[in-house]
């Protein structure tokens, strides 16, 4: 009952404020504890006055809202003793005290108005005294109406004024009625005459109204007719007039104005019509899926160089660097082409990756089978590489060596896909290896590790890396990481992409998956595509070499792409012959690589590039034939590299060693090749990356770089491979198969030109992408940048991995490539591994695709950023990719067995891969493959499928994994190296798979690198296969993939006790700390140094990935 009359209560302001505050915080439901707390917190923050506001009732949003909305209305307030006070509700306190203005006690007299003296200006009623407050005839919407001062004319304000009574008018279509339509309406459309003719009007008026017009056409009332005469004066004037008239009419301004007046186009056409360009059409054509403008831009960006968008794509594409950039368009085109040629999967993958993870996924699903096929194709390639690797690796690699190699490969692979850096790194590796000059394998190893790693990679990588890193810091990284993680490409992608896009990993993964899926869809195509890619790469290289202008080259590549497609088509048919040719080419390449190693990195690369092209000539023929010797050379280089890789890979990888004695030399190269090859094959990305690298290299040094590029390409491919490997790894049992398949994919391409052709196609696409990048450096750069970051990371990794890998047998192989690309390779490998890991997680093929994509972005990025360096890298990558392809080819022969499992032809490989992947779940197939291919064996340990390889792989993996784990990149590298050694050698694809599985996790990288292509497949497979892989993976891959799938990286770690686990661990470790991973790997020491770098760059990315994951 305590009424406290007050004059203009102090609380009023506060009340209003509180009310306002409360009002401002609309949204909230009934005030809850949380709210109150919130309110209190706010109060504290705001200060005493506000604090009061949020106490008690003020914390109850709804109460505040209601009471505030009735402020200013008359109300009757009943107090405990039954008295009724009437007044204007002014405000209320936190304890729900009511303040009435101009309040008076309601008199008994009904109508008697309050007397002036009865009215109290303000009364505060304690809530404890208030029984009921009755607000009569309140318009609750009153205050909702927007004040006329603010937005009186907004739609909401206008509609609000309707006071809620207004209902939207039902719009009715206007019907002019049949009569009108038949008459006047149509006449308006059909009547071309400009209204009435004057004479008709006059006539009508005269007839109808009797009005006679006085109109005189001579206008004599207004002017005077010209009097013509023949006097000179007049003639002169007339001539003068005509001259002036001519001048005026000839003027551009006049024409423009006349054109405006006479333009037949409607205003809509001229100003408002939305015209869909080819780009959009491409995107639309890709899969009839809706592509967000941003993606379109990205795609366009690829061509146009839409910075971030592109970069994202790049990241996503990272799996297949080449494809990523050009990816969208190229892939599209390629896809289409491929589709024609049966490479649809790839195209889809490529596009999807490039476009976006989702799209990729979509494509993946659609292409799920194709991806598998693609993955198979990749796997085949991997297997070959693996065999080669195993051979080399077993001896040299041990754990660390292989790991290092694998990581490198992975990184190299990853880079291409993930980031230009990776691609670059690969190239550098090669260059380095070349520089190292020594024996191809050993030289690569040692050289790559020492020379390349130390000098070239750092410089390139660091420079690019710097930019990349910056880029990476951007959203790209997140995406890429996601992609990686998602893709399971973790190794490669994680390395490359992960850095790029911490959050993106998933995307990347998706991309990878999509990419993989495309690959899967295009298994055959993939195989073919991989060949194509290789061809493209080679072409690109050639083009780059031949035509410095990346754009031109790109264009050419595009043009060539058809050719590639053709080649693919051809290749597919003549897979066996192609494979043989590829093998031969690979052999040649291996020789060339050896030469390259002997020669300084550049020289060697050049030699490699040149020689490879020649050697590859045949292979290129299919692919490059169209484009030219350069492309062919590039292909050759790639093939050579692949061959060398095969040879070296065997040596270094040893795991694969069983596969090929040739690998001895090629192990390193083979590994790179495998990785590269996988990348390339897996997704145009690798090829593209190679291309990009090639482009960049072209700028730097076409010839020398070409080789490096090839290496880089290989590396890039490695990245894809890494992914693939990862997937395979995941499908440990499958891995063998997958690896084989992966190798096959590569091998398929190589074996059958077809496979390479697809790569070439991708490469072309990549090239296109490259051109795009050149066109819009900024965009590309941005894209590239991210990749660069990857590269940076990779670089360290590369160095690390290179040193390690190189040192180790397989590593050496990797190193070779890496040497050129050292850091880039490392990054690439890392990326690859990440990508590979990513892909593996999702699906092998997807991983590949993703890896490719990622790689391609990277490549693009690398190209744009470090066009020179990138060119080298790109070239190197290209070469690598070719090499990889070659390795793949090399593998393919071995893989043939795998193919036999799946199918004999490269297309079969694709199928095989598919089957493999599919079968991955079915471990058995994988086993067969593994058995057939060395790769499987290495991976087998995990899968158990590959008996021989398993031990080595296990060791290698273990070693590699540890190393990779420290830093994702390192991990990737290490993992890649390890995987490369173990997996790569044995099952590059598997490693990729691991990487893919690990996606973000570096651990994955190992597998991915070698298997980058394969990895990409795995990624694709992961997406699609993941489950299957799990089945397969029960071993490493499965776990990794699963893990990736589940939680990104962590699960994989858990899942894969063996290699995959290591991979996973790596991935996890990478996030946690690169160092741990390093320690794990024998490479650790090296990795540590490089690892730190990687970690720095990578870690963030990885972190992002993880976070994203």
């Amino acid at each position: 009952m305590s009424m406290k009359p007050q004059a203009g209560g102090n609380r009023k302001p506060g009340g209003s404020n509180s009310g306002a505050a409360a009002a401002s915080g609309t949204g909230g439901a009934g005030g809850g504890v949380g709210r109150q707390n919130m309110g209190r917190g706010r109060n504290n923050a705001k200060g005493p006055s506000t604090a009061v506001a949020f106490n008690g009732v003020y914390a109850n949003m709804r109460m505040v809202h209601v009471l505030t909305s009735v402020v200013g209305t008359k109300c009757e307030l009943k107090v405990k003793n039954g008295l009724i006070y009437e007044g204007v509700f002014k405000t209320y306190g936190p304890e729900c005290d009511i303040v009435l203005d101009a309040a008076h006690r309601k008199s008994v007299e009904p109508n008697a108005g309050p007397r002036r003296e009865d009215i109290v200006e303000s009364i505060i009623f304690k809530s404890s005294d208030v029984v009921v407050v009755h607000f009569k005839d309140v318009d609750l919407n009153y205050a909702k109406k927007v004040s006329s001062d603010t937005d009186n004319f907004t739609d909401s304000a206008v509609s609000a004024r309707v006071n809620g009574e207004h209902k939207e008018k039902d719009l009715e279509p206007w019907d002019g009625g049949e009569q009108h339509i038949s008459g006047s309406m149509e006449s308006l459309d059909t009547d071309l005459s400009n209204g009435w003719d004057p004479d008709e009007m006059f006539k009508y008026n005269e007839e109808t109204y009797g009005v006679k017009s006085t109109y005189d056409s001579s206008l004599s009332s207004y002017t005077v007719p010209l009097e013509r005469d023949n006097s000179e004066e007049f003639l002169k004037r007339e001539a003068r007039a005509s001259q002036l008239a001519e001048e005026i009419e000839a003027s551009a301004t006049y024409k423009a104005r006349v054109a405006l007046e006479n333009d037949d186009r409607s205003e809509e056409e001229k100003y408002t019509a939305v015209v869909r360009g080819e780009r959009e059409l491409h995107s639309l054509n890709r899969e009839n899926k809706y592509i967000p403008p941003s993606q379109r831009n990205r795609e366009a960006g690829m061509s146009w160089g839409a910075g971030r968008q592109v970069s994202p794509r790049m990241v996503q594409c990272s799996p297949g660097p080449p494809t990523p950039r050009s990816g969208p368009h190229d892939y599209n085109t390629i896809d289409q082409r491929v589709v024609n040629g049966g490479a649809q999967p790839w195209p889809s993958r490529c596009p999807s990756p490039s476009s976006r993870p989702p799209s990729r996924y979509q494509s993946g699903p659609t292409n799920s089978l194709p991806p598998r096929a693609a993955t198979p194709t990749r796997p085949p390639s991997r297997p070959p590489s693996r065999p080669s690797r195993p051979l080399s690796h077993p001896s040299a690699h041990g754990t660390s060596g292989p790991l290092s190699n694998m990581p490198k490969r992975l990184s190299s692979e990853g880079p291409p896909r993930m980031s230009p850096k990776s691609q670059r790194t690969p190239r550098p590796h090669r260059v380095a290896s070349c520089r190292g000059g020594g024996p191809p394998p050993s030289d690569y190893m040692s050289q790559g590790a020492s020379v390349e790693v130390s000098a070239p990679p750092p410089t390139r990588n660091s420079p690019s890396g710097g930019t990349w890193s910056s880029v990476v810091s951007g959203a790209h990284r997140p995406r890429s990481p996601r992609q990686n993680s998602i893709g399971g490409e973790a190794p490669s992608s994680s390395c490359l992409s992960s850095p790029q896009a911490g959050t993106v990993p998933v995307d990347s993964v998706t991309a990878s998956t999509t990419a993989t899926s495309p690959t899967a869809a295009n298994p055959a195509t993939n195989l073919e595509a991989s060949p194509i890619e290789e061809a493209k790469e080679s072409r690109v290289l050639e083009t780059r070499q031949n035509s410095p202008n990346a754009n031109k080259e790109n264009v050419k590549p595009i043009e060539a792409s058809p050719g590639i497609a053709r080649s693919i088509g051809k290749g597919s048919p003549s897979m066996a012959s192609d494979h043989r040719k590829q093998i031969d080419n690979l052999k040649k390449f291996s020789a060339a690589f050896r030469l390259q190693p002997s020669s300084s990195s550049d020289p060697g690369f050049e030699a490699m590039g040149t020689k490879p092209p020649r050697d590859l000539g045949e292979k290129p023929k299919d692919q490059a034939a169209e484009k030219g010797s350069v492309d062919s050379t590039g292909l050759k280089a790639s093939t050579e590299s692949s061959i060398s890789e095969e040879t070296s890979s065997p040596v270094s990888v040893t795991s694969a060693g069983s596969k090929a004695g040739t690998p001895s030399l090629s192990p390193s190269s083979a590994v790179p090749e495998q990785k590269r090859g996988p990348d390339v094959t897996s997704q145009g990305v690798q090829t593209t990356s190679p291309l990009a690298n090639a482009v960049t290299k072209d700028k730097d040094e076409k010839e020398d770089k070409n080789d490096p590029v090839a290496e880089s390409v290989r590396k890039s491919t490695l990245n894809p491979n890494a992914k693939e490997f990862n997937p395979r790894v995941f499908c440990s049992p499958p891995k063998p198969a997958t690896t084989p398949t992966l190798t096959r994919p590569q091998g398929q391409p190589s074996p059958s030109i077809v496979v390479q052709q697809p790569p070439t196609v991708y490469g072309q696409t990549m090239f296109q992408m490259y051109p795009l990048t050149p066109v819009s450096p900024g965009v590309q750069k941005s894209i590239i940048w991210k990749p660069p970051a990857m590269y940076h990371v990779q670089v360290p990794h590369m160095t690390m991995s290179q040193t390690k890998s190189y040192r180790s047998g397989k590593v050496q192989n990797m190193p070779q490539q890496r040497p050129d690309q050292h850091h880039p390779p490392g990054t690439s490998t890392m990326m690859h591994s990440a990508t590979a890991a990513g892909p593996p997680i999702v699906a092998p093929s997807p991983a590949y695709s993703t890896q490719y994509f990622t790689c391609s972005p990277q490549q693009f990025a690398s190209q744009p950023l470090v066009q020179q360096m990138p060119h080298y890298q790109s070239q190197a990558q290209h070469v690598f990719s070719p090499v990889i392809q070659g390795s793949a080819r090399m593998i393919t022969p071995p893989t043939h067995a795998q193919p036999s499992l799946v199918s004999s032809s490269t297309t079969q490989y694709g199928e095989q891969t598919h089957t493999m992947y599919v079968s991955q779940t079915p471990i058995p197939q994988q086993f067969p493959h593994p058995s057939s291919t060395l790769h499987p064996h290495p991976q087998h340990p995990q899968p158990s499928a590959t008996p021989t390889g398993q031990p080595q792989q296990g060791t290698q993996h273990g070693g590699s994994h540890p190393a990779p784990s420290p830093v994702q990149h390192q991990q990737h590298q290490a993992a890649a190296a390890a995987a490369a050694q173990a997996i790569h050698l044995g099952n590059p694809q598997q490693q990729q798979m691991y990487s893919a599985l690990a996606a973000t996790p570096p651990s994955m990288t190992p597998g991915p690198n070698p298997q980058s292509p394969q990895a990409s497949f795995p990624s694709a497979q992961q997406a699609v296969y993941i489950h299957p892989q799990h089945g397969y993976n029960p071993n490493h891959m499965a776990h990794v993939q699963q893990a990736h799938m589940q939680s990104g990286m962590v699960p994989p770690h858990h899942g894969n006790p063996s290699h995959p686990p290591t991979m996973m661990l790596m991935a996890t470790q990478a996030p946690a700390g690169p160092q741990p991973a390093l320690p794990q790997g024998t490479l650790n020491p090296i990795p540590v140094s490089s690892g730190t770098h990687f970690y720095s760059t990578l870690t963030p990315v990885q972190a992002h990935h993880q976070q994203q994951l």
Binding site: T26, R62, L67, T68, V88, A102, D118, V130, Y142, K145
Partner: protein, 196 residues
């Protein structure tokens, strides 16, 4: 102080009826409920029957019994719209001024008829005020007691005629509103005045 939270006694949107300690039966839709202060806000149809308006009742549950939830509503209440505080403040100020103005007139001894007329005119023409017992409309027309049509004086014109119409209509309405309290009172006075 755990607000309505989990054990929310009244969910927004549900219909509740209760009996106050003063014997008044209240029923309406829950608009808000504050557990700490035991304050419940109900919304019910306008007592005047106007569709656009509604009555809002703030109830202190400490003095209420027989609280029944007629029907509960699980739907999440609609989001709260932001309020135009300045508009509310202006309304409060004007309402207060009007009331004070009216009270001033009342205190001046103005008859109820005059007050009612003033209210009626005020509804249409805001520019009206009391001057002693005279109603000044638009500074032109002065209506002096007993506030009949003929009492409207001022410059001849539209304004005067318009005011006269209002006044005429006002009393006509008052006549017809005998049922109403105010009208009843007016009637008595009116009758008396007429009779007189």
């Amino acid at each position: 102080m755990a607000a309505p939270g989990p054990g929310e006694y009244f969910s927004v949107g549900s219909h509740v009826s209760c009996l106050t300690c003063l014997g008044q039966r209240l029923q309406g839709e829950v608009v808000a409920f504050d557990y700490p202060s035991k304050m419940l806000t109900l919304k019910c149809p306008s007592s005047s029957g106007k569709p656009n308006l509604s009555d809002v009742i703030l109830i202190n549950l400490a003095y209420v019994s027989e609280v029944d939830i007629i029907n509960d509503r699980t739907e999440t209440p609609p989001p709260l719209a932001s309020l135009n505080i300045s508009k509310l403040a202006n309304r409060a100020r004007t309402e207060k001024e009007d009331k004070l103005s009216q009270a001033y007139a009342i205190s001046a001894g103005v008859s109820i008829e005059g007050q009612q007329l003033f209210q009626t005119i005020h509804k249409t023409i805001k520019d009206c005020k009391w001057q002693e017992k005279n109603i000044i409309v638009m500074d032109d027309v002065v209506i002096s007691p007993p506030y009949q049509v003929e009492n409207c004086k001022g410059k001849e014109g539209s304004a005067l005629s318009h005011i006269r119409k209002i006044v005429e209509k006002h009393f006509r309405d008052v006549e017809s509103q005998k049922t109403m309290q105010r009208s009843q009172a007016q009637q008595t006075q009116k009758d008396s005045s007429l009779s007189s």
